[in-house]
Symmetry: C2
Subunit: 500 residues, 2 copies
């Protein structure tokens, strides 16, 4: 039996029986059976499935937010907003599927023997769904990166059945979300097996090694993501693991910005790194400020003034946050401000540390993520010291730069940061990941195990497809996306020309 914990008092209740190995195999077999029908369903119809799930979420919003708050202590306002965003995302991924560009439909007609160019066959290429996808959601976003989050929505939208592993930080919510979604899917005629759920650690392991699973989506810690990536590499047929993992997301403040907007930057940084008690994979964990700018002190004062408090999601996260702070201190950082937390449950208060930018060298513990309301302010002494620190940064999901009016350093800093992350924010904060066509939520290793992909935004669908080319196939043997008459009215590339 899995347990559900209340972070506010640490008390547990029974949540759900663990899914045994035979049961996992049976669920994957059902997903495999469903995969042909899910893949063959027109994308516009799959969009209606996602719309039905979104509707199910919204009509039960109050119940779901209350349940999520019991298990995560993230607070009803934040959770209600997150649920609304998850419903919008489900519909967005459906609309991306229906738009159809994700299929990459491409047609090269055969060359005529008398055309003077080398003879070529008729070739047509389209992306096809991989088949059953295992989804491991995150502790920190029970809706956005949970059972019905980005991975599930983009996998279903692109035509693959999903088997979700319930997150131990919110097992009751996970079960309820799956139940609502399965009912919604049945109501609109989706095949049984399009979406299913398993519970328990061993069930997750069994899922990743089941030959029927064709890809894995994961959001969470480096340790968790890399463990799944390693496990998948031991399979007879290795499958892609799209692990989006936590990183230190660096924010650079230029001298001009530090001089012009010190209070705004200090307050903004505190707000961003303590949001949701710092339990964001995009939390800005490192603020690089000019030496002598007084910004470190300004941030310390802003933290003390704000004094945010809250709870860590799980006991393990609370422990590892405390241990992480110890590692940062061992690596030379000093605590310069902290908020003392209440003494109930897994309550936590933010901690601000200071370090010298010169100590930010490759491999330093100062450049490892400390998940929770913890951040470092590091002073750099001149451009060269800043460059040296930036070149030591490991890959991250996001980074930001704050510049001043007419700041000539901005283009170079944006370019430098873009080499080490998936998203560069200017005069803003990395927390807050908008869902749209242009989003990139990924980054160089170890931000994700697959830096060419994104786990948020339209391109998230690409992860669960692979291209197939058809050579000289008669029209009737082609998938609809490639038929000459273009029955799905897709934008396609025909003989090299993109057509709408």
């Amino acid at each position: 039996m899995t347990l559900s914990f209340n972070p506010r008092n640490g008390q547990s209740t029974a949540a759900h029986p663990q899914t045994g190995p035979d049961e996992v195999a049976g669920l994957v077999a059902m997903a495999t059976l469903a995969s042909g029908a899910v893949a063959a369903t027109a994308p516009a119809v799959r969009a209606s499935w996602l719309g039905a799930i979104a509707h199910g979420l919204q009509t039960r919003a109050d119940e779901l937010v209350a349940l999520a708050d019991q298990e995560t202590a993230l607070g009803a306002p934040r959770l209600a907003a997150e649920l609304a965003g998850a419903a919008r995302s489900l519909r967005f991924y459906g609309s991306v599927a229906a738009e159809g560009s994700y299929l990459g439909a491409t047609i090269d007609h055969a060359t005529h023997p008398d055309s003077g160019v080398p003879a070529k066959p008729d070739l047509r290429r389209v992306r096809v769904p991989l088949g059953p996808v295992a989804v491991f959601g995150a502790s920190n976003f029970p809706f956005a990166f949970g059972v019905l989050g980005h991975d599930t929505a983009s996998a279903l939208a692109s035509g693959s059945p999903v088997v979700v592993k319930a997150h131990p930080a919110h097992p009751r919510l996970s079960a309820r979300l799956a139940e609502i979604a399965m009912r919604a899917l049945a109501g609109v005629g989706a095949p049984a097996g399009a979406l299913q759920i398993v519970h328990g650690f061993d069930a997750g392991t069994r899922l990743v090694t089941d030959p029927g699973i064709r890809a894995v989506g994961f959001t969470g810690s480096q340790a968790g993501g890399l463990a799944l990536w390693r496990l998948a590499a031991t399979r007879q047929e290795v499958i892609p693991v799209y692990a989006e993992m936590g990183t230190v997301n660096t924010v650079v403040v230029t001298p001009a910005a530090a001089a012009q907007r010190p209070q705004e930057i200090a307050a903004g940084f505190v707000g961003s790194f303590t949001l949701g008690m710092g339990q964001y994979c995009t939390k800005p964990g490192l603020l690089l400020v000019p030496a002598g700018s007084g910004l470190a002190e300004a941030v310390a004062r802003a933290l003390e003034a704000a004094s945010p408090e809250g709870w860590m999601l799980t006991e393990a996260i609370a422990h590892s946050c405390t241990a992480g702070i110890g590692r940062l201190e061992d690596a030379g950082a000093k605590v310069i401000a902290q908020v003392t937390a209440a003494q109930h449950g897994w309550a936590a208060g933010p901690v601000l540390l200071q370090a010298d930018a010169a100590s930010l060298t490759a491999g330093s513990a100062l450049l490892e993520e400390c998940f929770g309301p913890v951040a470092i302010v590091a002073e750099y002494d001149g451009d060269q010291a800043l460059s040296a620190a930036l070149s030591a940064l490991p890959g991250s999901l996001a980074a930001a730069v704050h510049g001043g009016t007419g700041d000539t350093a901005l283009p170079r800093l944006v370019a430098d940061l873009s080499r080490r992350c998936g998203r560069v924010v200017v005069n803003g904060w990395p927390t807050g990941v908008a869902v749209g066509w242009a989003q990139q939520h990924g980054g160089p290793w170890p931000a994700t195990s697959s830096p060419a992909h994104t786990s948020v935004g339209a391109a998230a669908l690409d992860r669960f497809t692979r291209p197939v080319a058809y050579q000289d196939a008669p029209d009737g043997a082609l998938p609809p996306a490639l038929r000459e008459a273009n029955p799905w009215r897709l934008s396609r590339r025909v003989d090299g020309i993109l057509t709408s």
Copy 2:
């Protein structure tokens, strides 16, 4: 010193000094230095670089074909055609880069606060080059998959410098190709370090583990490709390895086709599996024919009538082909026709085996590639036996089906085969990989280590890029592809709408 061998007599000559570890590190450092300039060069200018290399190839065609023939014994006509194709491919990848869709430029403008939808920042996404790419070419295509083959051309086109590992099967040609290309690049003003070469096995290993190398392209055997994939996984920062590996490419003959075109199919199969002495990664290694159709005997007679002869590329390949035939016999296949080879050098004659389709079970040695002029004809007894055999097939690069007039089984067979390969050919043979926008040269594991990608065709560029999003960046800090005025006149997606 590496050695160059002549397959026609087995004699060797000294080829090139091995590249030492410090020298490899120096070359990677040079590539890293060049990577900023290569990435910042407009794609249309990089296209002119590839054009210059193509021109260099063509003006020295006679010399290069003679050198290639000495080292590979593939024959001047085939090699001249391959060189011409490689020149066309270099120009094609340049044109794909210049066209610019590979950048995936996408712009979501900020939403207005009074627009009634949730506030969103300005987000712009584009694919940026990964940086230095290590390329390991194949033995069997010294031009198409050699120093200046698909991997090198697509990596350079997409904006990354390349360091090639010379192939031991054609080290002198490799050195000469690199020399010609480096001179051509220098002549059109490309930065030094855009293309370089290393020699020797240890140099290749050093290359893959050098922190400056950001991706690996490989074409060759399962053993070689998986060894590099494993090696890259041990790096501090793991990088993608795009290994395109040899597979058994299955061809299905329907009862109607077997009845209507037995001689054409038999002769076509012999021509395809003995082309280049079977040293093609797309060689059809397995022909599934209806029991009682007499096709196995027809193929045997066609082989005896054609009696093609030639040489294996290397001594190691010759030995492993002989060993592979032994493994196929141990697994139950019987030799039904063979051509006796001459006794000089690494001469080889084709071998045709027969097996029962019922013995084609998952994990059987009958489903492992035997590189060389070796193929199996397997008889299936009815639809169910055929389905069982198809469901046991491992992932492959290509597959084919031969159907008859009005063959109602064709659509289902095309769909079944598409689940196990990267390209399905109808009424044709898998050898011959056209270069164009719609090509897919890849397939499910273990055909490649990255089934979402292709090593031939326009999408080959995608392998050496990763997306970056810019949030609220001022126009002057954006890369040209994302600037509001669209200076490169790209097709871009703006606020969800694809624009030309």
